[in-house]
Structures are given as C-alpha cells and as structure tokens.
C-alpha cells in the first residue's frame, strides 16, 4: 500500500496558560486525535503531548539551538531551520544532536528567503545521512508550492503543523499524490483514514435552438 499522508492536528499552548479547556475542545473537534504542544504542564486527556521545555516523561519539542550537550532528555521532536548543506555549522550541530538525543522527529522549518532548491539539496542530504529518522516538513514556513514539490520527491517525509484551514489543500495534495490521507497523532492509536470528498457532477447547461449568432446586423 502507498505510504499515507498524515494529518496531525496540532495545538500550541503558550507557557503561563492552563490549556486544559482549549485542549479538550480542540481534541473533541478532531475526533479525539490531535497533538498538543504546551509551554507549561501538559493537559491530560486523549491525543498526544509534547512540551516546549524538557519535562520528565514528556516528549520535548525543542529547537536545535536549545539542545545543550550536558542536558538529559527523553524523546525529542527537534525543530531546525533547513540546514544549507553537509559540513556547515548547523549540520554539525544536527549530527551531534542525532547522536546524543533519542529523536522522535526532525521537523524542518524554512527560514525566510531560502530558495526551494536549497531546501531540496538539504533534504536530499538529510534523507541520506539520517536514514531511518522521521523527517517532517513545517507546513506554515515552507509554503504550499514547495510542500507539493518536496512531498512528491520525498515520499518518506510527512507534513507538520497543518492548520485546520489548510485541510482542503492537504486533501488536494494527497489526491494529486495518489496517497491516502489519515488523521492521526502520536498517542499510538491507529490512524483513521479520511475518505476522499465526493466529486460534484457537471451541471447541465440549458441549450436554446440557435439558428444564427445573436448579433446586431446593422453592419452586415
């Protein structure tokens, strides 16, 4: 079977807020599936969790620059700006992080003004150097057109941070790639396949008998 494209509804809760109310409703709206990234203690309930600061027993949603060599951590979702090429400083930091931490996902973001060809080269390097690592592309920073190109070229990558109002674009992308679309999170529950929307029928255009074009004949 073709590798599905996953839709992981994601809610970001900043630090200093009790996000339980938001998280409960967010997960209810998405059939109990969703991923909550919180600044403070993670709210309880269904779905999966990650935290913006390292907490015991939680997945740490960390930026590359936040990783310190002496920091102990559980699993990490590592966000990194698209590394330009092997051999650069970011690439070396990434290599060290991959060796040092139990990485669950590598989430690639696109810094402003980065050309698509550079991301393409970087992804090629990453898929070769970190074979087996789960690579996710940040939907909001990478952009629709680049996402389409990269998802077609690298079927092993997945898309992170797809907003609810981007769902119709995700459905359209999955259809163009001939891949099933599944709603899921990281709780371990099986993904739910989303059925493709029904195609509307072509309308009937009323036709009146027409013996000549409806023109004004003063110049004929």
């Amino acid at each position: 079977m073709t590798q599905p494209l996953y839709w992981v509804p994601t809610l970001l809760l900043p630090a200093g807020q009790d996000g339980s109310w938001h998280a409960q409703r967010f997960l209810r709206w998405h059939g109990g599936r969703g991923h909550v990234v919180s600044g403070g203690p993670p709210p309880s309930g269904p779905g999966s969790r990650a935290t913006l600061v390292p907490q015991s027993g939680q997945v740490w949603h960390a930026a590359l620059e936040a990783l310190a060599p002496d920091l102990d951590s559980g699993p990490v979702d590592l966000c990194l700006p698209c590394p330009p090429a092997p051999g650069t400083e970011i690439w070396q930091d990434l290599t060290r992080a991959v060796r040092r931490y139990p990485l669950r996902r590598l989430i690639v973001k696109r810094p402003a003004m980065t050309p698509l060809c550079q991301i393409d080269d970087a992804l090629k390097g990453m898929t070769e150097a970190f074979a087996g690592a789960e690579i996710w592309l940040d939907w909001r920073t990478i952009g629709q057109e680049a996402i389409a190109y990269l998802a077609a070229k690298y079927p092993q990558v997945q898309l992170d941070n797809v907003p609810d109002d981007g769902l119709h674009q995700l459905i359209s992308l999955a259809a163009a790639l001939h891949r099933p679309l599944c709603l899921t999170d990281f709780s371990g529950r099986p993904p739910v396949e989303l059925p493709a929307p029904a195609q509307p029928a072509l309308p009937r255009i009323p036709v009146a008998p027409l013996h000549h074009a409806p023109v004004k004949h003063q110049w004929l």
Binding site: G143, E145, Y149, S172, P200, I205, L210, P214, K216
Partner: protein, 267 residues
C-alpha cells in the same frame, strides 16, 4: 529549464477586445454574458484611442476577447494593424472560436479572415479559452462552441495561411486522465503547432464553482506528459497566482516559460 532557481518570464501586453459574449460557456470567468435573444445595449469593444501612448517592454502581444455582437471583423483587423505599427513582437490574435463566429456572422471564408489577420501583422492564432477537443465535454460545458473537429480544421488552416496556431491544455478536475489523453492526442497531432498554453481551471466566478482548482502537482504532471509527447514544443503558462516555488517546480517539469502581464488594456 530552471536557471539558478528562477523560471523564465516573458513580458506580455494583454489587449482585451471586449468582455461581451453570448456563448455562456460554463468554465468562463472572463465574459460579461449577452442574452441570446435581443442582445440590447452591449458595451462597445476597445477603441483604438484606448491603446496607451506607450507601454512597458513586451515580448508578446496577446489579443483576446469575448464574442462581439456589434463590431465587424474589419474593426479588429484595424486594431491588429495599429498594434503592429507600434511593436515588432509576436502578436497572438483571437482564436478559432472568434474566427468561426465572424465566419458565421459575415459569411466570409475562414481563410480570407486569416489572410486579413496575417496581413495586418498577426503572427499567431490564440488557443481560445477552454478548448477541450472532446465533443461530449464541449456539448456539456459550452454547447454553442464550435465542435472539436472544426477547431482542428481552423488551426490547420491558420498554419496554411501563415499564422501559427497555439494549442490550449486546460487542467480541470472534471477532465479525467482518459479525456486528457484524447485531448492531447488530438491537439498534438497538429504538426505546425507554435506552442501550447497550459491553463489551470479557475472555478471562482464560473458556473462550475463547485469544483476545486487543480492541484499544482496535477498541472505539473500534465506538463510532463506534453513534454514527453512533444520534446521540443514550447509550453507556456500564465504566471498569475504562481509563486517562485511553483514556477521552479513547473519549469523543472518541462514548462518553457511563464507569461507575465506587464500591462492589460481593454474597453
């Protein structure tokens, strides 16, 4: 192919003759409908003085429009002549649909109309607005449009009369793979085709607004297919609403260049 990550852009002067049209095609987001019975007052087509005294540098002039109900063909030949006096760029003027309309209304042979256009300075016959060369689709979406075979005949006649015809490949969700294959087979058999224009369907403002616009990757796969069938045929597409990433993608799949409108004039 992509040059350092950038797609080639061709600056285009777009001249709209009229937005009035009586055909009422379901896919059209361009025309102002004219009733079939008693057309009544219809806005006049572009007047020669509406051409600006100067315009940005262009490499192509596109003359397109609806179907006039008031001006004769000679009016538009004169417009082409005036534009030719102002530029040395190729002029893509009208399409088989408009020629067939004027042929039916004025009862003049199509080759005569083509000769007038050529002598006035037109170099290309435009591809039209939604030319799927599949009669069942045409009858359903544009019942008053000329049949597919007639479109093909006019394109070949244009080539024989010194005006290179352009083809259109409309990418739309209601044209499935089989229909697209039929269309491409019919279109690409025209040996003298100057180029092909790929046009993603824009549902907003049409009678088909219930459909989604085609995905960029679907457009890319159609471009690849055209390129596979005719490796050296130029393939163009309007650059409107396509970002830098999309351009890079499409050019890497075989698109020759984007047409970017530098100025649009009309009535």
């Amino acid at each position: 192919m992509a040059d350092g990550g950038h797609a080639r852009s061709i600056p285009v002067l777009k001249v709209t003759t009229t937005r009035a049209c009586w055909m009422g095609c379901a896919f059209c987001d361009f025309a102002t409908p004219v009733p079939l019975r008693n057309p009544g007052r219809v806005a006049a087509a572009i007047a020669p003085h509406q051409l600006p005294p100067s315009w940005p540098r262009e490499e192509l002039v596109k003359i397109r429009g609806g179907l006039t109900v008031t001006e004769p063909f000679g009016y538009f030949v004169n417009l082409v002549r005036r534009i030719r006096h102002r530029t040395a760029s190729p002029i893509q003027a009208f399409s088989a649909v408009e020629l067939d309309h004027h042929h039916r209304v004025e009862r003049r042979p199509v080759h005569e109309l083509l000769s007038l256009l050529r002598d006035a300075g037109a170099t290309n016959l435009g591809p039209g607005g939604g030319e799927w060369l599949i009669d069942p689709i045409r009858q359903q979406l544009s019942p008053y449009r000329l049949p597919a075979q007639r479109w093909l005949e006019i394109a070949v006649l244009a080539a024989d009369n010194g005006i290179s015809p352009a083809g259109l490949v409309g990418v739309a969700p209601f044209v499935d793979e089989e229909a697209m294959d039929t269309h491409l087979t019919a279109l690409l058999q025209i040996r003298q085709l100057a180029h092909v224009v790929v046009k993603p369907f824009r549902p907003a403002g049409t009678k088909l607004a219930m459909f989604a616009a085609p995905h960029l990757l679907t457009v890319a796969s159609i471009i690849e297919e055209i390129r596979r069938r005719r490796p050296s045929l130029p393939i163009y597409m309007s650059g409107t609403a396509i970002g830098e990433d999309g351009r890079w993608l499409l050019v890497n799949r075989g698109l020759t260049a984007f047409w970017d409108t530098v100025l649009e004039v009309g009535p």
